[in-house]
Amino acid sequence: MSAAWLARKLATVIGLAWLVATIVFLALHMVPGDPAELLLSTGGISPDPASVAELREKLGLDRPILVQYGTFLGNLLRRDLGTSLVDDYPVLSEIALRLPRTLELIAAGTVIAILVGVPAGVYAALDRGGRFDRFASGVTALLLAVPVFVVGTLLVLLFAQTLRIMPAGGFVAFSQDPAQHLKLLTLPAIAIAKGLAAVLFRMTRAAMLDALANDYVRTARAKGLGPNRVIFVHVLRNALNPVVTVLGLQMGTLLGGTVLVEYVFNWPGMSTPLLRAVEGRDYPMVVGIVLTISVLFLLLNLLVEVVHAWLDPRVAHS
């Protein structure tokens, strides 16, 4: 992985981030009619002209579009995401408070998914056609079909409502009560992990089967290496490449799923202010959060690519 390759990848991410910002900016101007009037109207009732004029001024809609675009990009570069239309609270402060909690949830979900999906996939490939393989493949099909919010809701119904062994949701800071914090994290993290674990299982299983058919596996066995060494050093290392690629492809689903899971479990991450803002038509807040999560999405994809290049040096040279 050369510095030039990394620099090129970084430049791509910056370009895409600019593209994302531009699309978000244009979205407000592509809607038919006056965006200020649109944001204020509810259920077909026309808003009063005074408040429309006020909102136009607040969003800067009364200035030429290029000036607006310049101001928008300039503010972004100075990390100024504007203020909420509802309570004038700075959008960036809200994000700074909430983002770590969302990241924690994503990280916990990803770790669980990897810890469950990859070993299960390896085992299923070695047990091809066996009882575990068939069972796990069936479970996977089911897991891929259940929407993430249904899994979340059913987890609450089962563990909190019926068995009463887990809290239904909420949040306690880790510094306040570490044990309760982790307890509250468990169910939402499992809900987030379910889809990813299923995809990782399928991909690991397929990649393992592919890798097992290679000549170097036969060579490794022929020269007398034990089965564990063949599987973990020779096969798994090569099977992990497509698995990492899939991890990158799943990031969008994962981030979207977080919005739903946080809502189900009252986890006070980015989704709380986002959903409140969408309902209240608080445009600057929505834009700030959508931009943040989209850039996060691009960065996570970059991270996956870096891991991929580290596992498979050919990637950085192609």
């Binding site: 895409l16 593209l19 994302v20 699309i23 978000v24 979205a27 407000l28 809607v31 965006p35 649109l38 944001l39 109207s41 509810t42 099909a141 089911l142 891929l144 079909a145 259940v146 929407p147 993430v148 919010f149 249904v150 809701t153 059913l154 609450v156 119904l157 409502q161 019926t162 397929a206 990031m251 969008g252 689903t253 981030l255 979207g256 919005v259 739903l260 809502y263 986002l274 959903l275 803002a277 969408v278 309902e279 038509r281 608080d282 445009y283 929505v286 834009v287 959060i289 959508v290 999560i293 989209s294 999405f297 691009l298």
Partner: protein, 267 residues
């Protein structure tokens, strides 16, 4: 072919139920009956009543109509526009052809649900907004698949033969190329419908999709969450309906892919 039968029959059954919802002797799915709120199964209401005393079974069937209606409509719009763009991109030359496919990829920079929420903020929730957003989200898939297929097909002998016989470009594209690449497009269509059902239910669950009191599975799950303690079964029915529908659709997609798109089969 064998793998297509069971999920195919199940999906057909749901589609039929959704289409024929007005023909069945079902209770009005939005009529409230406060005296019977959260009532268990009773005469005329096999699955009981919800938190407003509305018939749950009727809402499940009408909910299928909403979910599938939105999903099919958006997949069709995405398919029509996406395939057109893909045909232009694959057949044509120059910047316009390049842009017609590449510009779609911008959509892929966003996690889908966030793009949806951005549009809902601007246009307000509702079935129309949902169809618009979902069709935009699935456009790139269609454009890409069509583009790739046209590129692989356009140099084939039978296309050359048709051209030599004097066929015009529009005839070549629509009557020679399109039928030959219909398989992968059909697979893409089935994938888009299944994905749209998931996203529609998610947005409705958040209260930002279908507007109440219209019946939708996502909205039913949202409503039943509040009364989980008194009536847990109210939560189970829409969850089961949604999951089984998506499961059947996914299996149908896999089956279709194995049958129609031999290159990716067996993966």
């Amino acid at each position: 072919m064998k793998r297509l039968w069971l999920p195919g029959a199940f999906v057909a059954l749901i589609v039929l139920a959704a289409l024929c919802a007005p023909l069945f002797p079902l209770a009005d799915p939005v009529r409230q009956d406060v005296a019977n709120r959260l009532a268990g199964p009773m005469a005329g209401s096999w699955l009981g009543r919800d938190e407003f005393g509305r018939d749950v079974f009727s809402r499940l069937i009408w909910g299928a109509r909403t979910s599938l209606g939105v999903a099919f409509a958006s997949a069709m719009v995405a398919g029509l526009v996406g395939v057109t763009l893909g045909l232009i991109g694959g057949w044509g030359k120059g910047a316009a052809a390049f842009l017609s496919v590449r510009s779609m990829d911008v959509v892929l920079c966003f996690p889908p649900i966030l793009l949806a929420l951005l549009v809902v903020t601007l246009l307000g929730p509702g079935a129309g907004t949902l169809i618009l957003v979902l069709s935009v989200l699935y456009l790139p898939g269609f454009a890409r698949v069509t583009h790739a297929e046209v590129l692989s097909v356009k140099g084939r002998d039978y296309v050359e033969a048709a051209r030599a016989l004097g066929a015009r470009p529009s005839y070549l594209l629509l009557r020679t190329v399109l039928p030959n690449i219909a398989g992968p497009i059909l697979v893409q269509l089935s994938l888009a419908v299944a994905a749209a059902v998931v996203l529609e239910s998610g947005l409705s669950f958040l209260g930002l999709g279908v507007v109440p009191p219209a019946p939708s599975w996502g909205l039913m799950i949202r409503g039943a969450r509040a009364t989980m303690e008194q009536a847990p079964l109210l939560l189970v029915w829409p969850c089961a309906a949604l999951t089984l529908t998506i499961l059947a659709m996914n299996l149908l997609c896999d089956g279709l892919r194995d049958t129609l798109d031999p290159r990716t089969a067996g993966r």
